[in-house]
Structure formats: structure tokens, C-alpha cells
Amino acid sequence: MPWLSILMGVSVLGALGVAFVKDDRLAKQATLAVSLVVLALTVVMTVQFSPNGDRFQFVETYDWIPAFGVHYGVAVDGVALVLILLSAVLVPIVVLASWHDAEAGKRSVRTYFSLLLVLEAMMIGVFAATDIFLFYVFFEAMLIPMYFMIGSYGGAQRSYAAVKFLLYSLFGGLLMLVAVIALYVIAGKGTFMFPELIGAIKDPTTQKWLFLGFFIAFAIKAPLWPFHTWLPDAAAQAPAGAAVLLVGVLDKVGTYGMLRFCLELFPEASKWATPVVIALSVIGIVYGAIVAIGQTDIKRLIAYTSISHFGFIAMGVFAMTSNGASGATLYMVNHGFSTGALFLIAGFLIYRRGSHFIEDYGGVQKVAPVLAGAFLVAGLSGLSLPGLNSFVSEFMVLLGTYERYAVPAVIAATGVVLAALYILWMYQRTMNGPTAESVRSMPDLNIRERWVVAPLLVLIIVLGLFPKPLLDVINPSVKETLTNVSVTHPAPAVAKEGQ
């Protein structure tokens, strides 16, 4: 079964269908139905994936432009699979959460939902692509639906934010395009297929230059410090649902790209760059957290916490230990759920009161206890409370980093303290204290909103207590990647008995 093509095909056909539905309500329902079908198919596909089988499964390869060796090549390994699963889970939730988000202006409601489905197809495509040129096409094309979602349906500063987002991403994409073409030419294999290009570039200097082209594109996408300034604007101006997909999935393409392409195609250059990348990551972890503490706007605050979290992910990738890289991959998934929940609940809050500013709230817990409780659970996931999903991945990343780079890991671990501050202080200012006059009549979450929040909270708790199923899928692929980078795993100082 060409599972991946089917997933994309259903999304694209759904998008076309929705775009031509006259009735807005019907368009929304159709979008929800399509996204649920995609989710169901993705789940069926995931069940059929055998973690210890071939590295790439559900392989489809067709010639696309034979003259240049461009293929329509898709397949997944464990890492790509869990990220596709993340996307497929988030889209229906976002659809349900965005039910009224496109109605505020005079914009077309059905276009918004159609764009969501287009975006879903591209998100699946970008993680599934095994042809580097195809990956590049998705990498760039993804910008377009997101650009319109921010630029047309966003907040007051939407144009500025959308352009900033686009210019940054295009700049990074341009660098990558150059690197992609150079890779093709220098490798001289006449193909863009990723598996065939592993180990193709031997010369260290060439590796370094090509690495930089890919890495900068990914560092902007993720974003790592100091390439991050577009994210708070984009995330704060985007409608809550679009912000979830932007921060939860699109940004992960950056960290995914680092793990998949930078490490495996340019192993020597990756090791050469590691000190700098680790340094940028650690700075980002601490800096993002400190700036988050000082934010006055809820959505910007969440965006800065994400910058801190992306630092953790990049650090885990470049630690090049199995705990670090597996933890980073799991982090990509977990962060999608926990930040997704934070953005969506913040969106519900903002929708009720019409203000982004923390100071306009206070005492919401008293009037909307379910909303407050859900916000707290999402927040606790954001501060990596053990027992919730993020703890597992953050712990693995820190442990994996410590195994190789103790000092950066210790500095990064201060982010654990700062996270408690930014989350709990935000929670205190919005939810605790005497109930503000302006929120006194605020309704609690309605049925639709509860259906949005419930699956995310369930995932946050279940993945916190039982991370093994996901890790079992992730670990073999990560191991393969690290083998291709040919790193040796640091052994414990006191060896285990019998070894």
C-alpha cells in the first residue's frame, strides 16, 4: 500500500473539496472529517510499521525529473513516523479549536480550512521525503499556506509578522537550495536520493560548506538563538491553531533536518560544528527562558518558552548520544503536544477576553476552573514535571548531553528552574488571585473546547507515564543515524558487571 501517498492524497483532495464547498459550516465539518480520516489512516500505518525491520518502510520511489535524478521518493523511519503521527494528531485538534477563528474578519472561512489541509499534506510530505530535492520543495512550499494563515487571519500586526516569517524562511531556504544543488553536483551520483547520498561527500572542507548551507536553514526554521526573532512575532500574530502547527510541527522540520540531513550527510562537519551548536543551544535555553519570564503577552511568552525548548532539542541532536538524540526526537513530539495545548488554551482565554496581555487577567481559576486546570496541566508539561510527557524527553536530552558534555548540560539544566518561574508566574498572574472585574463573567470551556483539550491532556499524561512505545519506534532509527555518523557511545566510568 502506498500509505504515504494516500495520506497526502486524501489531504490534498480534501483541501480541494473544502475550497469549493459553499456552506462554511459544511466546509468545517468536511475538514474535520478529512483530518480524522488522515489520522485514522496514519494510525493504521503506524501499527504496521515494524520498529526493528528495515530502516525505511512504506517506500515509494518514482522518477520525477530523470534528467536530474529527481525522484518522488517517500518513506519513513521511526523518527519521521512519529513526527507524521504528531502532525496527524494535531490537525484535527487544531481544526476543532479553530472553529470560529476565521470568522472575525471578512476573510473566507473555507479558504482557511482548505489551507489547513494543504498544510497537512505538506507536513506529511516534508517528513516523508527521501529525495532531498523533494524535501526542499516541501520545505519551501510549506511557507505558503502558513504565510496566508498568519497574514490574512492573524492579529493586528499580522502583515509585519507574516513578512518577517517569510523573509527569514526564504533566506534560509535559499541557502539550502544552493547547498542541495552543490551536494548533487559534488557527489556526482546523479541522484537526490538521501540513502544513496550518505557518505558521498568525503572532503572535510566541502562537508563544512554544505553543512552550513543546510544548518543555517534549519537553525532559522527551528529557530535557534540568534535566528529566533521571527518566531515570537509570527506565533503571537497567528491564529491560535496556526500557531500550534507553526511551533508544534513546522519548526520541528528544522530540528528534524539537523538530525536527518546534517548529521548523516556531513558527519565530520557536524562534529566540527558541535561546540558552536551546543553553545548556541545552551544560550537559547537560558536566554529564551529569561526573556519568556519578562513577557507581558501570553502568546509571546509561550513562543519564547519554545525557543528555550528548541535549544534542548538541538542540544540533544548534537550531543550525538543515543539518549540525547532519542530524547531530542521524543522532545519534538512532546513539545508539539504540550505547547499545542498551551497555545490552544491561551487562545480560548484570549478569545473570551479579547486581550493578549497577562495583566488583563487574574483569578480566572474561580470562574473557569476547567480552563484553568487544563492550562495548569499543559503548563506543568511545559515545565517538564515528572509524570508528564516533556519530562521524559528533557531528562533524556540532558542525560544524553551530560554523558558527553557535562558542563553545557549543567548550564542547560538551570533551564529547569527558569521554566518553573515562567510557567507558574504566568499561571499565577492569569489564573490566581482575586478575580478581575473583566473576567468575572467569563464562561468555562464549552463542549467543543473540552474535546480539543482532552486528547492533548490525555497524551501528555499517557506519554509521561508510558513513553516506551514511542521510544521503541524512535530508538532503532536513531541508532542507525548515529552509526552513520560513526560516534562511539561514552561508557560508564564503572563498567557494568559481566561486561
Binding site: I65, I144, Y160, T229, Q365, F391, F395, V410, K468
Partner: protein, 633 residues
């Protein structure tokens, strides 16, 4: 005695010992998800789950008594958690089961008491949900068979503590205190986390059963580093210097919370951590153990001094808690015999401090939630049960002969004296101060003039609150003698903490004990002169510099503010400014330069961009389509 081998699951009740954790966790889940529908019976469910957990703990205990002492160390694996790093599993041994009995036993009594204490609160159900959550997390903490699982419980109790300190979250002071407790604890948790990393990279495992036997193979520096970092974690959870500042603020929580979490159980988790890791990382000599004793002594004195100056009855007791945990910490730094006395004092303290806190809660309940002891006085006739039980707890804590504290605290003092005379005499001094501040509490509350307002009508609390007091008072009276005489607890704990075969005999009368008693009597006598014989002014006198020093918690908060909070705020502001102006400004400037003029950029930002993006999209689509056609031809 060498630490016993860990045996595999023998079945029976031990096989389902996870029920201890699962039952209260289920209770919490039902009460939180059930919402208002469970308001009517929620508190009963909460009590039931705590009691059920206690029953399981007791059955496990009795099953364990059936084993030979060397076999009382059973591992109960649960499930694979993080492959290659840590699994979830329980370690049932004398140490963990002692804690489990204390947590579920005292916990159940406090649950029952709370039915009455919280009866007027519209959110009583939520209160019981959090209490259940706490019990589950605390049990995971002490029953876990590895550091990662322990850490889940460790931060879990931190969450429960956060939720319960901030239970009346509409009070800004409560919300702030809750956040402060969590954040300060996270500083300690940071230490614990790094300790776990070092343990894993050194030993390739985080399981107690794998790490401890191999501890000797690691370098001394590594062991000391692990010990000191574990101690940092312990300081956060147990409110030891320098991470003590949150505990006094934590009294914002309802009084049963102060009794359960911030006196009897959670705050002793640090002592548990040190004792559990003891044989490997705190052997009783060496740097880490020395630092533990110094922290313990410093905190026992600081807490006692703070206790002398507080007019808020709960804060006086909170100072006392710091101080008593200081004693336990001191003991935990003294090696195996010290561990046993640390645990003995921890158990008796669990009883008498819960007793005292619940007594204070009973007083507050009858006094319209007044906490200022200057507004109390002469309550002994109006609240006879509360008075008598409080008196027993008071006599137990000051070490009145033959009551609990006499045995367990003196055990610590004597062990410290043998180890190092300075430590010993400082601990004796602490006992004297304890005699003073606790007598002060009793005199100000139950004796002297009645100093409350006209509209207050003090009355005894209902039976649901007084019965737990009576049970706790009974424990406070006799438990110490039971545990310490003929070395009962030592023999029981022996295999778990690695006690020597030759146990030191406890002398019921000893020179050091007599000296301690004399100082305690002097402290109590001085308190009588100041607060018993004299009338207590309703408004606190200004007091000397020393009084102010003690009232302001030895300037702990002021220090934190000057060293961390203010610089932190400046750093935050600077970072935000820098991020808005610096990084972003630079990038915008660069973009403008590349784009020609800033005017161009602004134009792009407004209207033209949409068409610009659309043209890219259309262009890309055409290109892709063309390639596709070319490709397939």
C-alpha cells in the same frame, strides 16, 4: 551487617504493593475528573483511599516480618519506563515500609481530621483530591527502587505541595507562597537531577540495587560530588539552609496540609534521600557527610531561633519543623547509627508535629482562623481535648523524660557527641531553645489572660477532629520508647541501612541527657517568666535587634531578594530589551540595508507582500507542474 541482597518478588501482598500508590492516585483522578458531581461523597472517597493504602502497607509490613531479617529487601518491578535508562519498580525494605506506614498512617488520620476542618469549604472535594495525590506521590518517592522513579515522586510531592499551599489561590499571598515553594524546590531538584546524571554516567544505571554495591569502585571525588548534589536536593525538599525560605510561607496552606506535608512527611523526604543513599554516598566520614552535619546543625539552630520570635502559631511550629529536621539531617550525616536515629526521630516527629499542627488547627477552627498567639490565651478550659493532646505533643518535642522526643532526640545528641563534641553541644543548645519556644507557644495559647475579641467564641472541635488528635498524642507519648528501647527500630532497619552487628545500647539516663534536660528546663522556665507569669501584650513589643533578626527569618528572604530576585529582575528586563532592540533591531537593519532602504522594507510589509507571496506560490506551482510533466514524459 552488609546490606542484604535484593530478592525478587515473592508474591503475596508484596506482589501488589503498588496498590499503595495506585489507590490514592485513583482517588485523586476520580475526584478531579468527577468535578462537582463528587462533592457530596468526595471526602469519604479520599479518606477511604488513604485508609486502604494504609491497610496494604500494614499487610506488606506483616508479610515482611515473616521473612528472615536478611531477606527483607524485595524488589517489585512494575514496567519498563525509559528503555536503557530506568524502569519503574518498587523496593520494599524496612526503610521504605517504615516510611510507607508513617505516610499512610498519619496521612489517614489527617484525612479524617480534614473532613471536619474543611467542612465549610466549598472546594473540600478538590482538597481531598490533592491530599490523595500527595499520598500517592510521596509513596512513590519512598518506595521507588531507582533514582528516576524517586524523582517522579519527588517532584510529584512538590506539585501536591504547590497545589495545597495555594489551595486558597484567590489570596495573592497563598498563590505567591505556592509558587515560591515550587521554584525554591526546583533549585534543589536541579542538584538532584545532576546527581542522577553523574550516577548514571558513572555506574551505567540509576537502580539502587545496581549502584550501591558498586559505589566503592568510583573515585572519591565522584562520590563526594554526588553526595553534595543529593544534599542540595535534600535541602530544597526538607527546607534546610540555604533553601529554607519557602517553608514559613508555606503556612499559607490549610492547616492539615501544614501538618501532613510541611511537618510530618514531605519535608522529611530529604532525610530519606540521604539515608537511602547513605551507605554509598554518605558513609559517615568524608566531606559529603560532614557537610550534611553542618547543614543539619545550622538549620536546627536557625529554625529554633526563628521559632522563638513568631507570634503566628503556625509559623512558630514551622520554625520548629525546620529545626527538628535539622536534627534528623545532623543524624543522617553521622553514619549508620545516625541513620537509625534519624529515622526514629523522623517517625516520632511525624506523630508529635502532626499532633501539634492539628492541635493548632483545632485552636484556629475555634477562633475564627486567628493565627496570632497574642490573640489567644487561657484556652485550656475551653478546648480541653485540644489542650491535653497539644500538651502531650509539646512534652514529646521538648524531650520530657520517657516521652517520644526524649528517646529519639537524645539518641541523635548522644551520637553527635561521640562523633564531634562541637556538633553535640550545639545540638544540646538547640534543645534548650526548643524548650523555650515550645513552652512559649503553650503559655501564649492555653494559659494566661484571654486576649481574643468579643465576637470570637472559642469552642472544642468536633469528634472527627479530636479523635485523630488523641491517636496522634498517644503515638507521641509512647512511640519513642517503643522504637528505641531494646533497639527495636535499629534491629528492624539494620539490613536496610547497613548497621553494625554490635549496636550501641541506649542509656535512659546519661550525663549528656541530664545536661540536655537541664537546658530544656531552663528554656521552659524562661518562657514561663516571660509569657506565663507576665501578661502577654496584644501588640508585639518592638524587641531588640536580635528579636527582629529572628522575626525576619534571619533575613533569609532579604538575602534571597538582594542576591537573586533583584538581579534576576534586572537581567530579565535587560534580556527583553536586548531581544526587542538588539537582536531584532540588528536583523531588521540588515534586511533594510539589503533591501536598499528601510522605506522599501516598510512597503513590503504592508501591501505588496501578499502579491509577492502569491507570485512565489504560483511560480512554484507552475514550476513543479512543469517538472512533473517533463518527468513523466
Amino acid at each position: 551487617m552488609e546490606p542484604a541482597e535484593i530478592l525478587s518478588n515473592p508474591g503475596g501482598v508484596i506482589g501488589v504493593s503498588w496498590l499503595m500508590i495506585a489507590l490514592p492516585l485513583l482517588g485523586a483522578a476520580v475526584l478531579l475528573l468527577g468535578g462537582r458531581r463528587t462533592d457530596k461523597w468526595g471526602h469519604f472517597l479520599g479518606v477511604l483511599m488513604a485508609l486502604a493504602s494504609f491497610v496494604v502497607a500494614a499487610l506488606v509490613f506483616f508479610q515482611m516480618l515473616g521473612f528472615a531479617p536478611a531477606e527483607r529487601r524485595v524488589s517489585v518491578p512494575l514496567y519498563a519506563f525509559i528503555p536503557g535508562v530506568a524502569d519503574l519498580g518498587l523496593l520494599i525494605d524496612p526503610l521504605s515500609i517504615s516510611f510507607a506506614l508513617l505516610i499512610t498512617g498519619v496521612g489517614s488520620l489527617i484525612h479524617i481530621y480534614s473532613i471536619g476542618y474543611m467542612s465549610h469549604d466549598t472546594d473540600r472535594r478538590r482538597f481531598f483530591a490533592y491530599l490523595n495525590l500527595f499520598v500517592a506521590a510521596m509513596l512513590l518517592l519512598v518506595l521507588a527502587d531507582n533514582y528516576v522513579a524517586l524523582f517522579i515522586g519527588w517532584e510529584g510531592v512538590g506539585l501536591a505541595s504547590y497545589l495545597l499551599i495555594g489551595f486558597w489561590q484567590f489570596k495573592p499571598s497563598a498563590a505567591t507562597a505556592a509558587k515560591k515553594a515550587f521554584v525554591v524546590n526546583r533549585v534543589g531538584d536541579f542538584g538532584l537531577l545532576i546527581a542522577i546524571f553523574i550516577v548514571f554516567t558513572t555506574f551505567g544505571s540509576v537502580a539502587f540495587g545496581e549502584v550501591f554495591p558498586k559505589a566503592g569502585e568510583a573515585s572519591q571525588g565522584t562520590l563526594t560530588a554526588i553526595g553534595l548534589l543529593l544534599l542540595l536536593g535534600a535541602c530544597g525538599k526538607s527546607a534546610q539552609l540555604p533553601l529554607q525560605s519557602w517553608l514559613l510561607d508555606a503556612m499559607e496552606g490549610p492547616t492539615p496540609v501544614s501538618a501532613l506535608i510541611h511537618a510530618a512527611t514531605m519535608v522529611t523526604a530529604g532525610v530519606y534521600l540521604v539515608v537511602r543513599s547513605g551507605a554509598a554516598f554518605f558513609p559517615g566520614d568524608g566531606t559529603a557527610s560532614l557537610v550534611v552535619t553542618i547543614v543539619g546543625v545550622a538549620t536546627l539552630l536557625a529554625g529554633a531561633i526563628i521559632g522563638t520570635a513568631k507570634d503566628d502559631i503556625k509559623k512558630a511550629l514551622a520554625g520548629s519543623t525546620m529545626s527538628q529536621i535539622g536534627y534528623m539531617m545532623l543524624a543522617a550525616g553521622l553514619g549508620p547509627v545516625g541513620y537509625a536515629f534519624a529515622i526514629a526521630h523522623l517517625i516520632t516527629h511525624g506523630f508529635f508535629k502532626a499532633n501539634l499542627f492539628l492541635g493548632a488547627g483545632s485552636v484556629m477552627h475555634g477562633m475564627n482562623d486567628q493565627v496570632d498567639m497574642r490573640r489567644y490565651g487561657g484556652l485550656r478550659t475551653l478546648m480541653p481535648v485540644t489542650f491535653i493532646t497539644f500538651l502531650v505533643g509539646y512534652l514529646a518535642i521538648i524531650g520530657f523524660p520517657l516521652l517520644s522526643g526524649y528517646f529519639t532526640k537524645d539518641g541523635i545528641i548522644e551520637t553527635a557527641m561521640e562523633h564531634n563534641a562541637i556538633l553535640g553541644w550545639l545540638a544540646v543548645a538547640g534543645a534548650g531553645i526548643t524548650g523555650f519556644y515550645m513552652s512559649r507557644v503553650v503559655f501564649m495559647t492555653f494559659f494566661g489572660e484571654r486576649r481574643w475579641d468579643k465576637d470570637v467564641h472559642p469552642h472544642e472541635s468536633p469528634a472527627v477532629m479530636t479523635w485523630p488528635l488523641i491517636v496522634l498524642a498517644a503515638g507521641s507519648a509512647v512511640l519513642g520508647a517503643y522504637l528505641v528501647l531494646s533497639n527495636r527500630l535499629m534491629v528492624f532497619l539494620g539490613p536496610a541501612v547497613g548497621l553494625p552487628e554490635e549496636l550501641p545500647a541506649f542509656h535512659v539516663v546519661s550525663p549528656v541527657g541530664l545536661a540536655t534536660l537541664a537546658l530544656v528546663a531552663a528554656g521552659a522556665g524562661y518562657a514561663w517568666l516571660k509569657y506565663g507569669r507576665q501578661e502577654v501584650p496584644v501588640v508585639a513589643p518592638r524587641g531588640s535587634f536580635l528579636t527582629t533578626f529572628a522575626r525576619r527569618d534571619l533575613y533569609g528572604d532579604a538575602l534571597n531578594e538582594a542576591l537573586f530576585m533583584r538581579p534576576g529582575q534586572w537581567l530579565t528586563r535587560l534580556a527583553v530589551w536586548f531581544d526587542n532592540r538588539g537582536v531584532d533591531g540588528l536583523v531588521n537593519g540588515l534586511a533594510a540595508t539589503i533591501g536598499g532602504t528601510s522605506g522599501r522594507l516598510r512597503r513590503i510589509q504592508t501591501g505588496y507582500v501578499r502579491s509577492y507571496a502569491l507570485s512565489i506560490f504560483v511560480g512554484a506551482a507552475i514550476l513543479a507542474g512543469a517538472w512533473f510533466v517533463v518527468g513523466t514524459l
